[in-house]
Symmetry: C2
Subunit: 418 residues, 2 copies
């Protein structure tokens, strides 16, 4: 079999398994999750041995230290994986939930039932923990899943796949509900993202380049986000203390995450005091500041921001700053330069707050809170498989619900249409 | 400007208008809808004159009588258009609705707000009423829309577009919120369905060929259904009277609609009586019946169904019939041969009913009701822009809600992430 045939065959197996997963009971799914957690703990030596082989080979191939770091599977990482599965087991099962029932004049009762999407394809980089997290979310949401991890993690992923299969079977579920593609051939991805008869949605996780390529070539719907160019806007009516705390946290809590602020918009009324305080704080934390012309006029030591800065996701201790004169200017700057991920207004003015959250066209809009809260755990979704900046289907952090769909159910008593 | 540039320019204008539409008040949108309804009534003579030109040219070009029929704009059709707009004005406005608020341990309050998708592209055949229906739904849901109707209806669509623009402006909304592409060049569609920066979703309405072509070439999400291969399953525990009434209505109420039954599955226990009654009823109504081998053994006058029949949408007085022995057989037949549109079980057995609606993977699943109820009006959506058999985003009849998205809103009090 060539690669395309192999992947099509995997698709067929996943599609078959998805029917069994769709009707699995909550108890069965939770038993599988707990069994996998136990196996991951019990077999930690085996997992670490497989991971050591991956690391050895990756080192020989000259993988960057940061990527080696992500690839490494420590005892702590293994325990976190197992706990993650147990947490997913504790989440409410969304499948089969029926809502929104309404009696219609014809006599029928119309409502909706939540059901799995079917088969979810997940493409990610060399991070073994994603294998288990993604498998756990897909099992709980009644989906079958096909996992394609970075080739550097192949041995460890295959070892994890065996444990997942064992756990599924222990709960009476098909081992094919979670299939790891065990080839490093890149052609496999091409088939995975185009076999619409076997895959219902693709979730790519990784760098912008990977996601752009997948979105461009996929013939299957993709849940994705490309950038997190997040803004905090300090409104004219902001509380200065809240503004300082939020703008500090949104930038400096972690530099490399997608919900980190990249541009700070400041109403000119706050330039003398609030912004001055922030410039000092950022300076102490070695954050490189790039200001607009008006910002530079007030803080001449800053670097000058170029037009490109307004649409750059630094993922680093760098921040662009712009002074503006109105809420309208803030909204139009964000909608124009932002990436529709997460944007914040700091204000005590109710009307401005409500206009901001309605008119800023982003997956998450916040009033008086740090952009760093845009996250599946913080939102109470329990876990997330990714964040979507698209508007179709799931938007924002995608948890179990984003891996489901709703169908209409009609309860009749023999009604026919007149 | 070449066609691609013209359409890109239209996209740009629609994108700009969408920002104004997203913040339009309910009252503004309703005033626009009522103003358009009034203009359509007032200008009926002008509309009929434009339509007469379209009809004249279509006749000269040899358009089929059935299509001429759809193209024709009668006084009744004009009144129906106007009433449709007034009904949409009466529907609740989904935009800005906030739901699902939860306090999180961090102190933030997280909920969701319903917002428009942005720009909706609609591609349809030569039916002028779709121009007004689609414009109405997009206006109410706060979207801008780009309409591309069948070229045979060009004059009438342009005349309608002028009235829509006037109505929008009378309510203080941008005329560009509804743009009719006024060229018959087919290249326009190619640009429309690939300009992802200006169009958020495409809704194709028309024949299977048109929809397949658009789905294949689109680089923008598509809300669509290709087929309606709908089933009624008469379970072992069906009430015979309900079974006869539903199977009769599902096939013969209208032959050409997507929610019409195309295959009747009958538990063998119902072959002697219920099916015999139905064979007589269908015979009296000149419905051509094509049976499986077991059906033929009992009703030798029927035609033999071929393998192809099980996956054919007849859209005609033709029905395939299969005798089976279990619920499992019914579910697997439907999931294998159906089109995931609408499927019905007739049964008095609760467990069988619940298994059917959970395990049949279709946009609408019904217990003891005719498949003909799968419709936006019958479901209480008020109106529908189409029916989706996809699982991503909207599924089943798509009304105002399907033209919206939900974003996360976070209400904080100065919270930062620890």
């Amino acid at each position: 079999m060539n690669i395309a045939e192999q992947v099509l065959n995997i698709g067929k197996r996943a599609r078959t398994a998805s029917a069994a997963m769709a009707k699995a009971s909550t108890d069965q799914k939770n038993r599988a999750l707990r069994a996998i957690a136990q196996l991951v703990r019990q077999q930690s030596a085996m997992l670490k041995a497989a991971n050591a082989e991956d690391l050895e080979r990756a080192r020989l191939n000259g993988l960057e230290p940061a990527l080696l770091d992500r690839l490494a599977l420590s005892d702590k990482a293994i325990e976190t994986m197992a706990e993650g599965l147990e947490q997913i087991a504790q989440l409410p099962d969304p499948i089969g939930e029926m809502t929104d029932f309404k009696n219609r004049p014809s006599g029928i009762l119309v409502g909706k039932m939540r059901v799995p999407l079917g088969v979810v394809g997940i493409i990610y980089e060399a991070r073994p923990n994603v294998t288990v997290d993604a498998a756990g979310l897909c099992i709980k949401s009644g989906n079958a899943t096909i996992l394609r991890g970075g080739s550097e993690a192949l041995r460890c992923n295959n070892a994890l796949a065996k444990l997942v299969a064992q756990g599924l079977e222990a709960a009476g579920l098909p081992a094919d509900a979670v299939i790891v593609i065990d080839t490093t051939d890149r052609a496999a991805v091409g088939t995975l993202i185009t076999m619409a008869e076997y895959v219902d949605v693709i979730v790519p996780r990784g760098g912008k380049g990977l996601i752009e390529r997948i979105s461009k070539e996929a013939r299957v719907p993709v849940i994705k986000h490309l950038d997190g160019i997040c803004h905090v806007f300090i409104d004219e009516f902001a509380d200065a203390d809240k503004a300082v705390a939020i703008a500090d946290n949104a930038k400096t809590h972690r530099y490399g995450t997608c919900n980190t602020m990249e541009t700070l918009l400041v109403h000119s009324a706050h330039a003398p005091d609030t912004l001055a305080k922030l410039v000092e704080i950022y300076g102490n934390k070695q954050v490189e500041l790039r200001g607009c012309q008006r910002t530079l006029a007030r803080f001449p030591k800053l670097l000058a921001a170029t037009e490109e800065d307004w649409s750059t996701e630094y993922l680093a201790p760098v921040l662009s700053i712009k002074l503006i004169d109105s809420l309208d200017e803030a909204i139009s700057h964000i909608n124009h330069f932002g990436s529709h991920h997460t944007d914040v207004i700091v204000t005590e003015n109710h009307s401005n707050a409500m206009r901001f959250i309605r008119e800023v066209d982003s997956a998450s809009v916040m009033i008086n809170a740090s952009s760093r809260f845009a996250d599946g755990f913080e939102y109470g979704l329990g876990a997330e498989i990714g964040i979507s900046t698209d508007k179709i289907h799931a938007r924002g952090p995608v948890g179990l619900e984003g891996l489901t769909s709703q169908k209409y159910v009609v309860f009749g008593h023999g009604e026919v249409r007149q």
